[in-house]
Amino acid sequence: MIPRNVQITLVLLLIAIFGSGIYILLLHQGSEEGLRRASDQRPVAAPVAGSNETLQLTIAYDEDGVFRTRDVSAVVPSEPSARAKSVLEALISYYLSKPSPHELADGSSVNSVFMVNKKLAVVDLNQALAEGHRSGIMVEDFTLISLIETLATNLPQVEQVKILINGKERETLAGHADIRSTYSTAAIHKVVAQLQ
């Protein structure tokens, strides 16, 4: 007859042995996964060929009704179209972060930018940006001005900008701001200077 206190001790020891075994098993699996990931050389994102640069963004502040410049650091390609797209994506990312001085709809982005004769940039914005944009003269104008001024600041060779939405021409961004016209960056710069 095994005394009761010995029985309890044996049961506790068995539980501790099983617990330790399971813990060791989990540790082993974790280390194997880590090794497998470390040995996987496939890229998880498209490489950006370019140098890390400081971009100057012209940010719209709805509450104050003004524009202010902000410097951000980003890897920017040297090819003009890709560079223009990266610059605008940096600006849109700034607006999409919370809290935002000028809110854009979730999912807003730039489909592509085409450079024509190095002087005309045709910016194709996605549907989400236009369809989810707040409707109003000032808020729409601020988006337009901010995009064009930021593009012109970081690509000084751009003299004219044409905005498309999902590859198509539209009359207005969300009912007010004119995107039928081709904008001169000089005209935009003049307005920004008044509103800084």
Binding site: G65, S135, M138, D141, H176, R180, S181, Y183, A186, A187
Partner: protein, 507 residues
């Protein structure tokens, strides 16, 4: 890039020369074309006006096989959040039950069948339901058999006039003739109204499209020196009250829009030559009364290319008011049931009244819930050759703003007004005047304790307007404008009147 000449200026110049050289006559073909186009342009599309406690709106009416139909989704959408799903030939409508929260009311229709099921009970339509371009159309005749059980509300349908009153919204007009010298006629309404008011000769015509007003009397003799009679008519979703007088009449709002006081129009200043159309100039009418500015009010007919707007005289000072958005373009959603287009139209009508009181002729680009493209707005405005252009907007914000046109192109060479102007940047020749007008408007608003900011904006259709032009964006909320509509319209009218040359001519 679009760049074409401002062809309306070509037209205007021809007219100018013709006036001075009688030997030159326009081609008879042009007259024939114009006469042929006029009836087309004047035909207003059929519509059904719906008056319900949460919303007042109009929906288009379609005629098929001699019967009138209306889109079911368009009919109930402003009242609820409906779901209409096709399932083969059957269509299922589901709306939140207005009677009990959290539940749904359902109706089932079948294309080509006059039998429908509403809340599980079979009902018979006056004609088979139709599917036109993936829209479920139901017959207008007897629409109450669907709406009464579905919405669980009272329905009064003036079928001949296509006016549908839901939930007991109809309210009668009561009139009160205050005898005197001269007499006044007060029209009382159960709630604030916003009719389109214009005059034809000595008759004052009030058209109610968005107001659920009704009258039990079609004709009433008033037996007064100034007022001879009043006539009430309902047609195509609109109620029209005509007050006939022995002299030109003027309407003024009182009691926060719940009363309209009709009185004799004051004689315009004798030194101000205003316009009058030949058809309205009655030989027996005193000259100072014949020259009513309201004679030149016209609107662009929805769904058509803008007509050449009648211009009073080349020397007259004319204001074009653009009530922003309209039709399918709702503008900003101030609340789910209050679109920007409704606020801008109301403000535009108020501004028109304020200008008319100051004897300034006005043209409204739209005076109903009609679709107008930007190019139609630009063309109609430039053909009218206005002295001032005002575009009205509203947004769910807190600030009152006046915008001057910023041009998308920069040019060092200043544009000359009396030459051909590039269409997209015609405003370039008027930038300084637009800025001065904006400053005057801000000053007039300041006097009325309204703080307005003046800012540049890349706003359509201002770029292409060949006249001093501004846009006003007023703050709004669920109750409409956050600032007094009367005060805002008064300030704008004062600023515009301040730019009118003392001789009354165009600038």
């Amino acid at each position: 890039m679009k760049f074409y000449l401002q062809n309306c200026f070509v037209a205007s110049r021809c007219e100018f020369h013709l006036a001075r050289k009688p030997q030159l006559r326009p081609s008879p073909i042009a007259y024939c074309l114009l006469l042929a186009l006029l009836p087309l342009a004047a035909a207003e599309p059929d519509k059904l006006s719906v008056y319900a406690p949460p919303a007042r709106y109009s929906v288009p009416v379609v005629s098929l096989d001699g019967r009138q139909y209306v889109g079911l989704l368009e009919l109930v959408e402003p009242l609820s959040t409906p779901e209409l799903k096709p399932d083969g030939k059957k269509w299922k409508l589901r709306i939140p039950d207005p009677k009990s929260a959290g539940k749904f009311a359902e109706a089932e229709f079948e294309e080509g069948s006059a039998t429908a099921k509403v809340r599980g009970r079979q009902t018979t339509l006056s004609a088979p339901a139709r599917n036109e371009n993936r829209r479920l159309l139901v017959p207008l005749h007897g629409i109450g058999t669907v709406l009464i059980p579905l919405l669980g509300t009272d329905v009064t349908f003036h079928e001949g006039a296509r006016r549908l009153f839901l939930g007991g919204t109809a309210s009668a007009i009561s009139s009160e003739l205050r005898k005197g010298d001269p007499s006044t006629l007060a029209l009382h309404f159960a709630e604030a109204v916003n009719p389109n008011i214009h005059s034809e000769g000595n008759a004052l015509i009030l058209s109610f499209t968005r107001d659920p007003v009704v009258s039990f009397t079609e004709y009433e003799g008033l037996n007064d020196k100034l007022f001879s009679s009043s006539a009430y008519e309902e047609k195509n979703g609109t109620a029209t009250l005509t007050i006939n007088g022995s002299a030109p009449l003027l309407a003024k709002f009182a009691d926060n829009g719940r009363t309209i006081v009709v009185s004799a129009a004051p004689a315009p200043p004798s030194e101000t030559p205003t316009a009058s159309s030949p058809s309205n100039a009655q030989p027996q009418t005193p000259p100072e009364q014949a020259a009513q500015p309201t004679n030149v009010i016209e609107s662009v007919v929805p769904g058509t290319a803008p007509l050449p707007i009648r211009r009073p005289q080349t020397s007259a000072f004319l204001v074009v008011i653009d009530a922003g958005h309209g039709g399918s373009d709702t503008g900003a959603r101030i609340t789910p049931n209050l679109p920007e287009k409704a606020i801008t139209l109301s403000l535009a009508r108020r501004l028109r009244q304020e200008l008319q009181v100051r004897h300034i002729p006005v043209t409204m680009l739209r005076d109903s819930d009609s679709d107008l493209t930007l190019e139609q707005r630009e063309a109609a405005t430039n053909l009218a050759r206005p002295s001032v252009f005002v575009s009205l907007h509203a947004e769910p914000g807190a600030s009152l703003r006046i915008y001057t046109p910023a041009l998308p192109t920069s040019s060092d060479a200043a544009l000359q007004r009396n030459t051909f102007l590039p269409w997209q940047s015609a405003q370039g020749a008027f930038s300084a005047d637009s800025g001065a007008l904006a400053s005057s408007a801000a000053e007039a608003m300041g006097k009325r304790k309204m703080n307005a900011q003046v800012r540049p904006a890349f706003l359509q259709p201002l770029h292409a307007i060949a006249a001093p032009a501004i846009a006003v964006e007023a703050p709004a909320d669920a109750n409409g404008l956050k600032i007094s509509e009367d005060q805002l319209a008064g300030a704008l009218a004062e600023a515009i009147a301040g730019r009118k040359p003392s001789g009354g001519g165009a600038q």
